[in-house]
Symmetry: C2
């Protein structure tokens, strides 16, 4: 693995064609925004490019790829965006694992799986770096690319809430608005709009909040039963984890999601006092200092027990 | 009333002393941020200055004035910040009405009550303009001033969510972060922290949501009974109005708050399709296109009836 800078990254991409862009599974606004923005930019340079993800892309992100005509081709160069480790590719790990040529990322924990790595761990979103790469490619940033990258920045900072957003993050957002990004529409779609079914799920989640460790740990368990009652699916739960961290005094927020096979995933949210990626790492997961995730090969009650036990050790 | 620009405003302030700064009643982050930032700046210039508000300042805003030593003096010049009309001064209207020398504001509906008006209706927050004034005054912006102004911008844009935030808004935020504003801490305190009592109130509010007009109108009524049950007060309800606008398809969100005398206030939130200030104006209130407020001299059931009736005419 060789670490590279923005200019080198742009130079490599200029020399390649038939470029496949991989986004991580259980996709979020940053991986999708980066993937489709970079794809658009490469298409504008006359190259063949395609951005793909192993999982279904939630419909609210539709505007990120509507109108982008991605050709079919046999990939000659494989790029991943916002993917900290190959296992985060989900079902694509089997297909593309060990074959990734270039990775653009902002996770300090990036495992270094790609031949070339453009990593800016100070960026709040990978989209901040993809913006620089696209500018270095000499591509004129149009409204679509601006919308994609603004989405990446906005979603990865919880709409500019998190301490991870630096003045550079805000300046990148300003620049993208000047390029035509519809910040109001995007933030409304990402953060202000609840479907009726999600609103029902959120209400159940709030009612079922559990507290441990002198109320310093807050846990929400989203069960299959709750999905059924409200007509929601796992992909509708993105806005639940931030709820666990909002009550005064909470230092660790745990969101468990029951999978179809009865095992579960956990999203971890913390504040400065606890490193979420360390807690996740104990269960073979990973992420950032204040937002991380892991999977547990047990039922939800056992997962609760294990996670709370380990969380208590960390506060 | 004479409209003035930033430079003229700074020139006037430089020539004056013993300056009283008025913030609006039921204070929000923008009026408070502007008031205490401007006060700090004038103190730094060696002037006597004081920022005051007719209502109690909610404790979460404590960091805006902690450590600011405001001297006592007989006011010689009166400035208002983020105050669209004199009646919004609350109990201070009687004391200072008709005597205000200078107003710095961003409400297009400003009534022009002051002798001089510095109005930028394109700014998402009055704090954007106060930042310019402080720079024109030649005051070095320290961390405290930066925290104040960042708070104004962040709170008036719903943490950068609203379409009112322009690229200039994001750039002002970036500049303030470079001056030392603790964006993460501020946004956490303003948007990410729910007290236990507020969390209980919010749950009741969500449970009691009412829908009208094919679900295009959402109404939450916060009653005295709900305050009692949850140990909250009116000043704890700031985060309720945005909840009314979050459900898909809702165009008008109404939040009624029952006052001690049994009459009520209403906060109105809308999207592009409806002008909230027009709806508020019908009840002698005012505000912005997508966020406005009014008071009704009747009980909560009658207020619901009147507001819903008028809302139905507007969608």
């Amino acid at each position: 693995m060789t670490k590279i800078n923005v200019e080198k990254c742009a130079k490599i991409l200029k020399d390649k064609d038939n470029i496949l862009i991989l986004m991580h599974a259980h996709p979020d606004g940053d991986t999708l925004g980066c993937g489709f923005a970079l794809c658009s930019a490469l298409l504008k340079l006359g190259k063949k490019a395609k951005a793909v993800c192993a999982d279904v892309i939630p419909s609210k992100y539709g505007y990120l790829f509507e109108g982008v005509e991605m050709p079919d081709f046999k990939e000659e160069y494989i790029v991943s965006v916002d993917v900290a480790a190959e296992k985060l590719l989900g079902d694509f790990e089997k297909v593309y694992g060990g074959r990734i040529d270039l990775c653009i990322d902002h996770h300090a924990t990036n495992s270094g799986y790609a031949e070339y790595l453009l990593l800016n761990a100070d960026a709040a979103a990978a989209a901040e770096t993809v913006l620089k790469v696209i500018k270095a490619l000499g591509v004129k940033i149009d409204k679509h690319i601006a919308d994609c990258l603004f989405t990446g920045i906005s979603t990865d900072t919880g709409c500019f809430r998190y301490a991870s957003a630096t003045s550079n993050t805000y300046r990148a957002a300003a620049e993208l608005i000047d390029y035509g990004a519809e910040n109001g529409m995007i933030n409304r779609a990402m953060f202000e709009t609840k479907t009726w079914s999600y609103a029902a799920l959120e209400r159940l989640a709030l009612e079922g909040m559990e507290f441990y460790g002198d109320d310093r740990i807050c846990l929400i368990a989203v069960t299959r039963d709750m999905y059924e009652k409200t007509g929601t699916q796992e992909q509708d739960t993105e806005a639940i984890p931030p709820l666990t961290r909002q009550i005064e005094g909470v230092e660790i927020g745990l969101t468990l999601r029951e999978k179809e096979d009865g095992t579960c995933k956990c999203s971890i949210r913390t504040y400065e006092s606890v490193d979420a990626s360390k807690l996740a790492a104990f269960f073979n997961g990973g992420g950032h200092k204040q937002a991380a995730a892991c999977e547990l090969d047990c039922n939800i009650d056992e997962a609760k027990r294990r996670l709370v036990e380990k969380s208590l050790e960390m506060i």
